[in-house]
Amino acid sequence: MYAALWRMLPGPWWVRVVILIVLAAAVVYALFFHVFPWVSGIIAPDDVTVR
């Protein structure tokens, strides 16, 4: 999977490394700001009111 990704990327090895770092940063950003907040509401429910 990652080997195939590596082969698909253009340019010399250091360009591929830069592209991979940018891709990883984008994935982490999406996880931290969009996916995890949504998941958190499902698996860590917090009841703070008395009723």
């Binding site: 999977m1 996880l31 995890f36 509401g41 917090d46 009111t49 008395v50």
Partner: protein, 261 residues
């Protein structure tokens, strides 16, 4: 993953096992990826997420306070004087804001103990989807508005969604809990914590924990969950009213350090 199936003599022997290894390898890579994501989630949940979301909420609250300070919001006219309060405080008679609709932000909450510039928006209602998750602090409908006789009851998350009330147990006697509205600042002073069961609604009574007793003063109650990462119990933090500072007089001393930041 998709090795060409050209059967050159050189490759023939290793080809079948490579195919299986390819599939197993991909599965392994997926599993490793999932594991890394789960670890990232744990790190995010424990140390990062609430800081990110909390900073967003606090920026929103600061923007609200700034708008009130510059008079962009003309809601001060909606306020009415407190009806027959008659308490003996030296401060001006508090202006009691009119009741607002569900999910409407009508105040910001400052608690200097949690940080000099700690401030969260306060909206009407305690629904998770409408108030606690997207806005911050919720005001129990039917409880007193800031400055009114009775009990101002507020709820907020202790973890997740910015975790406004994460540090409620670290409050100390006399700590300022200040509600800001377009009209001014309502300073309450923290008195004590109580750990209660989730169904103990008597903490919301006009006089907390005294069902049936008419309001004899101005109280404020914060509720959140306890212990951390559990919903088994609730914490109620009680505070009593100290003073009202009209907006014209500027931020009160209870916030002096906060406003200077």
């Amino acid at each position: 993953m998709s090795e060409p199936t050209v059967a050159t003599p050189r490759r023939r022997r290793s080809q079948p096992s490579r195919g299986r290894l390819g599939v197993v390898g991909v599965i392994g890579e997926i599993l490793i990826t999932v594991g890394v994501i789960v670890l990232l989630y744990v790190v995010w949940q424990l140390w990062i997420g609430d800081a990110i979301v909390g900073a967003q909420r606090q920026a929103e609250a600061q923007e609200i306070s700034r708008q009130w300070a510059t008079g962009e919001e003309d809601s001060a006219s909606a306020a009415t004087p407190a009806p027959g309060a008659g308490s003996g405080t030296a401060s001006p008679e508090p202006v009691v804001p009119a009741a607002v609709g569900e999910t409407e932000v009508f105040a910001t909450l400052h608690i200097p103990r949690f940080g000099d510039d700690w401030v969260f928006p306060v909206a009407e209602g305690i629904s998770k989807s409408g108030v606690l998750d997207p806005i911050g602090v919720g005001h129990y409908p039917g409880t007193a508005m800031p400055g009114a006789l009775g009990n101002v009851a507020l709820a907020a998350h202790r973890y997740t969604h910015g975790a406004p009330f994460e540090n409620v147990p670290s409050l100390r006697i006399g700590d300022a809990i200040v509600l800001e509205t377009p009209d001014g600042w309502y300073t309450y002073r923290f008195r004590n914590l109580e750990y209660v069961r989730p169904d103990e609604v008597s903490v919301l009574e006009p006089v907390p924990q005294r069902p049936g007793v008419a309001a004899d003063g101005r109280y404020l109650t914060l509720t959140t969950c306890s212990p951390m990462w559990s919903t088994a119990e609730r914490i109620a933090a009680y505070a009593v009213f100290e003073s009202f500072t009209p907006r014209a007089d500027g931020a009160p001393d209870s916030l002096a350090s906060a406003e200077g930041a």
